[in-house]
Amino acid sequence: MADHSYDFHFVNEVVLPGDIVAEKVKTKQIVVKKIKLKLGPGLRMDKDNIIAYKCGVLREKDSTMFWIDNDQKRYIPVKNDKVVGIVTNRGGESYQVDIGSSMASALPFLAFEGATKKNKPQLKIGDLVYGRLSVANKDMEAELVCTDTNGKANGMGPLKDGFLFTHSLGLTRKLLNPDGAVLKVLGKVFSFESTVGLNGRTWVNSNSSDHTILIVNAIEQSEYMTLSQIKQNVHRLAEGMRE
């Protein structure tokens, strides 16, 4: 039984690191149903208070989940995040993969769907892989795998051809949002394939390099645009292409 709850201020407002976002409040009524409070990225407990440790906008969902919506460039590995990495080295048992975080991550040779000791995918230095972080710890090297928890690839693995570009993590989340507009609008005009990694890297492949460049430009420019602006911009770029 919980005899206290947390009183949140600053919801949908900008908070700075160190701001006390919520305080513990004693409640007189006895709450039978225990509701677990979920603290997302940017928030942590400090004694009886919940404080922010990132700057950004405090967001809430169903009044049980709180997090800070911020935009940054440095990627911090989080378990089960799907990221795009670049192979930088080949070791005895694993590849070393750069995922844009402070430390490179390890991708074991056998962490692919159907890989065995005799039959494993050969990656060269500089190749791109789309994988899932199976181990992500604050003080340890992250580990990358190219299978989901059931051992299926589900679209993960090496990425052939195409073009890779980096952008902010805020744009990544915009692209991966189910209501995200840029890719949908582009998808109505062009035939292409894209892989958005949560580490701020996006890989684009299309029929011609002209199209790829245009798509990349449209995505990069869309970061601070509204839906109507995005539509306008994409159509303008497509018109220019046809001429």
Binding site: A2, H4, K34, I35, K36, L37, K38, L39, G40, P41, R44, M45, R59, K61, M65, W67, D69, V78, K79, N80, D81, K82, V84, T116, Y130, V135, N137, G151, N154, G155, M156, R173, L175, L176, N177, P178, L183, L186, G187, K188, F190, S191, F192, E193, S194, T195, V196, G197, L198, T202, N205, S206, N207
Partner: protein, 171 residues
Amino acid sequence: MVKIYKMAAESKERKSLSKNLLKMKFMQRTEEAKLRQQLEDEEKREIDEAHWVLDNVEGAREDMIEYETSYVVCEDLVPTGRMSFKKFNPAVEKLFKELTAQKELAECEVREMEDTVSDEQMAERYDSLIDTVDKKFGGKRKRHNNEVTLDFDRARPFKKHKAQFKKPKED
């Protein structure tokens, strides 16, 4: 006694498949999958053991608090970053649809769980209903038992018998 031992040994042999069969390709696949699963479990356990937690400090205070480190969960992002448009890569397009459908299904289930009665409520309700339900089932079972006893004599001849030679009556 000797015979019994022999039989036991035979049944043991029958349980494990022959070497040649196990060598076949489709058998090896399952073997490998089993081995991999085992290794995975072991790995998971090792990882879990390697992660030390201060339970006396965190457990006491943060009973109500859970941490969610991923933006994917917070902001309901799509489950995979791989997308294809206008049939550029149909396999990826199909996969994306499948994964989003899976995610939606899971969400629907969660919502349904919230809307419908909880296990505890269900248990309470059944607790009060126990007599009624008991009557219903008891009645049925009684009826069922009666039928069985009535039919018992008739049912007997249907018991599995080895086909045997029937000597014709001598008249």
